[in-house]
């Protein structure tokens, strides 16, 4: 195993250890701060209860990611092909991020209902921006000398896009996607807090109200695991796609 991995695991274990030890020594009540061992036990024992909620949240996140991909990628390409469009749209894109999305969450529930769509929308709004902007700047970062070469070859825009710009932009696209998938959980959970019938955010609100703090933490644990899992999957996809970087 790599040194950096050992370091990460060591750091995580010692943090958990300090937490466990601190709670035990200071005798903190379980409804204020449960011990990591309690949380782990609850996360496993109550897995049948948590599982459907986790699946619901995961579904929202995945749909949000999918929706963001099919909208952000074409828009980035369009803006790249047409700098006038980019200049026109940039203020709106930035404004869409400057508006606190969380403040919109209650409205979204009013507009889109308590079901999945309001959460998917929240996730989409949050993921869209990093994917779109990173892909666009990746496309634009292409070395001008390569552009000259392709022009002399008589390549069409689509050929240049497929053979040159797209592969060139991939590392930055993946960087954006990594950011996107990790923050996607935030969007989905906030959406569920405001109003939902299922999902980990819903479970957290419910447990919190009943002072089942260990269950709240268990839900957070599952969320974290999901975010981490998505991050790893994107990393693997990136390594498979960008093989030339390793060689």
């Amino acid at each position: 195993m790599k040194r950096s991995n050992l370091l990460a695991i060591g750091l995580a274990l010692s943090l958990v250890g300090i937490w466990e030890l601190g709670v035990r020594l200071m005798d903190v009540p379980v409804f204020i701060l449960p011990r990591p061992s309690d949380i782990a036990a609850v996360a496993l024992v109550k897995a049948p209860l948590i599982w459907p909620h986790a699946l619901a949240t995961l579904g929202e996140i995945l749909l949000g990611i999918g929706l963001a991909l099919v909208t952000a990628v074409p828009l980035a390409v369009l803006m790249f092909a047409n700098p006038g469009l980019e200049r026109g749209l940039a203020p709106f894109l930035v404004a869409s991020q400057a508006v606190p999305v969380f403040a919109l969450a209650p409205l979204l529930v009013v507009w889109l209902g308590y079901g999945m769509s309001s959460k998917v929308f929240m996730a989409w709004v949050i993921i869209f921006f990093p994917i779109c902007i990173s892909l666009l700047s990746g496309l634009k970062s292409c070395d001008p000398e390569f552009r000259v070469l392709f022009r002399l070859m008589g390549a069409s825009f689509w050929q240049k896009l497929r053979l040159l710009y797209w592969p060139w932009a991939l590392p930055q696209f993946f960087a954006g996607l990594r950011v996107g998938v990790t923050v996607a959980t935030i969007g989905a959970v906030i959406g569920e807090w405001v109003g939902a019938q299922q999902g980990l955010g819903y479970l957290m609100i419910q447990s919190n109200a009943r002072l089942q703090t260990d269950l709240v933490f268990a839900a957070i644990l599952w969320l974290t695991a999901m975010g981490l899992g998505l991050w790893i999957i994107v990393g693997v996809l990136e390594k498979r796609t960008i093989k030339w970087k390793l060689k």
Binding site: E145, G154, W244, K247
Partner: protein, 248 residues
């Protein structure tokens, strides 16, 4: 024949060249030598269509053009191989983008790989081979443009001396075997003398041809001939003179 007539280009108040003219006969290997910053790259940018000339005409085979973008292949100091394609895929790019017969192109590329000592490395990525091999692959790609005019922009200046010698012979092959018309710019006078049928010495801004040389030595040349040494000494003295002149 490539003909540049009365070309002018200025950036702001700085004239790069004012009334620059040049002729390259069909099948000729013409070399422009000049100090760095004299404007030879700007001339190439005009030829390849990267920038528009302020005035002047470019004609190729008797037809006046804005630039020779669709008629020339181009090779420069950087190999410009795409790291995500193998060497053979890189060499096939001009065929893929240029609506050429891909099967014919594959055959031609395979043959060129053999000729240029790249056989066995077709499916390697550019990151896996040496700089000399990458530049040879770039040369294959240049030939795969299948165009009669070749523009060479200091194609060998990033390579070490030994690798460069081998590639100089390959550049000669472009002319002797593939009958290309070649315009090359370089700052290396020895390279110019080894390769060029005609060598134009360029003066600093505004760029002009200050002197021309036509070595009588047949190619392939070796650098121990008195004629070449004499020209080199002369050119180096002139370049030095220009520099000290500029400093005053």
């Amino acid at each position: 024949m490539l003909e540049v007539c009365g070309a002018g280009k200025a950036y702001g108040s700085q004239a790069i060249f004012l009334d620059f003219s040049l002729k390259v006969e069909p099948g000729q290997f013409k070399v422009l030598v000049g100090p760095s910053g004299c404007g030879k790259s700007t001339l190439f940018d005009g030829l390849t269509g990267v920038t528009d000339l302020d005035r002047g005409d470019i004609s190729w085979k008797g037809k006046t053009l804005a630039n020779v973008q669709d008629h020339a292949a181009y090779m420069q100091q950087k190999d410009l191989l795409l790291p995500w394609f193998t060497l053979i895929e890189n060499s096939l790019l001009p065929a893929k983008t240029g609506k050429k017969n891909l099967n014919g192109a594959r055959k031609m590329a395979a043959d060129l790989f053999k000729r240029l000592g790249l056989k066995g490395f077709e499916h390697h990525y550019p990151g896996q081979v040496s700089g000399g091999m990458r530049q040879r692959c770039a040369l294959v790609r240049t030939l795969m443009f299948q165009r009669d005019l070749i523009l060479l922009d200091e194609p060998l200046s990033a390579l070490d001396a030994i690798t460069r010698q081998g590639l100089q012979n390959l550049l000669l092959m472009l002319q002797s075997e593939f009958k290309k018309t070649i315009l090359m710019i370089t700052h290396d006078i020895e390279e110019a003398l080894l390769l060029g049928d005609e060598i134009c010495l360029l003066g600093p801004r505004p760029m002009t041809v200050v002197e021309q040389f036509v070595p009588r030595q047949p190619k392939p040349r070796r650098f121990n001939h008195p004629e070449l040494i004499e020209i080199r000494t002369h050119v180096l003295e002139r370049l030095r003179g220009d520099i000290s002149h500029e400093a005053v």
